[in-house]
Amino acid sequence: MGEFEQLVLLAVLRLENDAYGMEVRGEIEKRTGRDISYGAVYTALDRLETKGYVAHRMGESSPERGGRARKYFRVQPEGREALRATRRALTVMWEGVAL
């Protein structure tokens, strides 16, 4: 799993595991200072969904959105497991490394 995809998954988890694109983008920007595009966020979410790490549900629409519904994502157990595995791997690799 790439670094960006991890950020996206963690953002969703931080948002009580029920977040739509605008919230995910805002969370990542707030915490990491990185200004990422909607294109990047949604393509990442799409890739994660193909892998089965996240699933989506359709939410409400509103006049500000031009009548378009929100797309809420939640992390699936496979996604959590993938995050754990990545963290384990990184932890192991970081052991004994001083920068």
């Binding site: 909607y38 294109g39 393509t43 959105r65 031009g66 378009r68 929100r70």
Partner: protein, 877 residues
Amino acid sequence: MWQRVLGLAMPPDLRDAVVGDAAEEFSLRVSRDGYRTAVRWYRWQALRSVLPGVLHGIARARAKGRADHNKGDGMMGWVKDLGLAFRGLRKRPGFAMTVVVTLALGVGATTALFGVFRTIFLAPIPLPDSHELVLVMESGGFGCCGPASGPDYLDWRERHRSFEGLAALNPVSLTLTGLDEPERMAGTYVTASAFAMLEVEPAQGRALVEEDQENPSVVVLSHRLWQNIFGARPDVLGQALELNGTPYTVVGIMPEDFDVPSPWGWMGTHGYFLPFPNEDLSQNRGSHGYPVIARLAPGMTLEGAQADMERIMRELAEEYPQTNGDRSVRLFELHDYLFGDVGRQLGLILGAAALVLLIACGNVAGLQLARAAGREGELSVRAALGASRGAVVRLLFSESFLLALGGGVVGVAVAFGAVEGLRWVLPPNMPRVDELSIDGWTLGFAAGAAAFTALAFGMLPALLASRTSLASNLKEGGRGTLAPSKERARDLFIVGQVALGLVLANGATLLVKSYAEVRGQEYGFEDEGVVTMAINPAGPRYAEGSAVQSYYDEVLRRVGDVPGVTSVGTVSRLPLFGGSNGNVWVEGQPPRRNSGEGPLVEVTVATGDYFEVMGIELLEGRLLLPEDSTTGATGVVINKALAEKAWPGESALGRRFSYSDDPPDWLTVVGVVADVRQWGPERAPQGQAYFPLAQGGRSASFLTVRGSGSLEEITASVRRAVLAVDPSVPPSDVSTMSARVERTFAQRRFYTTLIGLFAVAALFLAAAGVYGTVSYFVARRVREMGIRMALGAPATGILGLVVKRGVRLAFYGVLLGLVGVWASTSVVEGLVYGTKAVSFLTIVGGAGVLVGVTVLAALLPAFRAVRVPPVLALRSE
């Protein structure tokens, strides 16, 4: 605009969410940071989203392409499969050729016959709105149906409520004189209403009008006559045309393909149209000789018109009980009347051809199933590598598709050839033969037939074979033993083929027997060695009966002197070719209530030695003498059927009967002769009375000549002798009696031959199919037989097993075939004469052949297999 950029950058299923989120955040930013800042932000978002969106789209497409490729879906997979199938077929050219040829013959034959069926039967009559045209015939005590009388027609015209128009015809054959050589030609008198009713304008000049019927002196020509006789001259209008010596002025020429339809011939028979004399229309209510055609009024149905006409006939029956007392009316849709019978027979042949095609498909299907059985290993590997079931079906079907395509293309070529061939062998009296061709519809039919064959023999085996069980097939090594469902399918093909073959064989045998029956009928006369030709003295020179008498006397004298002629006579209508008749009042019986009662008796005029020429035996009394013609005596000769009907158990000599009642015109019986089948080979002889010329009136006569030696030479000499008497009376319709008799059977012979051919083909195909399929599967069970023998089973036991299996299948096929025969009884019964609709001999014979073939097909390879040492059989991996 930037919203569109953002949207287009994203794949469609993410578009709404992205654009919606961006719009929501834009809204927030507007209120937080101001409009301009928000717009700048949005623009930047859109631009930055393009690249990830596009890259993601490309990645998705590539992933889908790989998946499609692995699953075997998509256009590329289809093309690959076709290529694979083609290469596979190329490796087995014998198999491919056999299948293509079999299918091509089936498709070609069926297509050609469809072309014939379409041209002859399906094509409408070439007149505007021809489906509205009906034929109005009269029915009565004599049965159904005959033409109307003039006064009846006039009353119908007055009183009907159901037609846009009515017209009466009187088809005739008159001599066109005033040419280099006079020529007899068919035409018709017709009421002027016909042209308006048929809704066709003349190509030149004018059509007939009511006034012309007062004193007919004009004629309208057909396009054909104008071309052939007048060389399509532009100045023919206003010219005179002499018919039977009477001049008529040409006032109009009809367009090509126009004709007034008549129930007694196909379209295109009438060369000229003469005005129907009003005088003839208003006379003789009891004389029925004029067919009537009509066009239904808008919204009127045939049933409605029928009821309306029946009302009129009831009124006429009350007003004229003598002539109309027991008469009614029957309406026919014109197309059905003209072409219905021939269409039904052609439809039957088409059905037979389709059955043969079906059997051929069954053959190929069985083979395809067998081959798929041998490929189970390969198919299982494909499935294991991710091929979907659809891809496997498509792979198996591709081969069938190519074979059907080949069969279809070659089949069209066969159809072209077959249509040409059919043009030669179709009976000459069949309508529209010269219009036969392969048109768009027929080609469409060919395509449909080919597609059907592909589905019939390709799809089912493909679907069945694709239900592979991976594990067992891979372990088996694809040894070609079928799963139970496929075994059942294969068995079903065999059973079906046997059944179809039996049905077709039964139908064909019956038709052959029926034909033989009809041919073998005793007609009551001898046709060998007899020459016949029509001579019709007419025109002003022959206005007097005595002139006609003199003419015939001279003809008989001169022809009698021709070398080789042994006897000569004339007759108004040749036997087998109908005539005219009426009911008679037998003296001694109570007076009749109307002229429809009493025995129906043919009126036949005979002179000279007619009876001797035709070999009609004299049973009692004497034949007609020359004096009977001149003295005006009322002596007539009758046939045995009338004698037995009118005076059962007594001698008819000296007895009397009359056609009219008040006053009666008594005819005295002077002789009784044997019966002839005057109304065709299938109708039993009716009462018949032979009149001498003086009483019979002037009817178109046939000269009959019996000769010894070369009939060709005699014919030529007789022609010359007749012309020598009066060159303006040319003999026409010259033919030997044998040839005429043959022609009456031409249609029946044609159908019988074709269906016979199809039956032979069907039996052959069915036998071949059964043999091929059964032997293939037996051969594939070599290993199983080896195991059985290794385990101690005797060879005879194994053979018995295999044979039992084959016989059982054939037995089921025969049972199903019997059901089919029973179901087809009603169809066949309408076409056979003198035999029952089920031929036990055929069924037993056909069943025997098919069962025998099945047993042989099972036995031969099984026999070979059990002779192989079990060790070798087991080793055959």
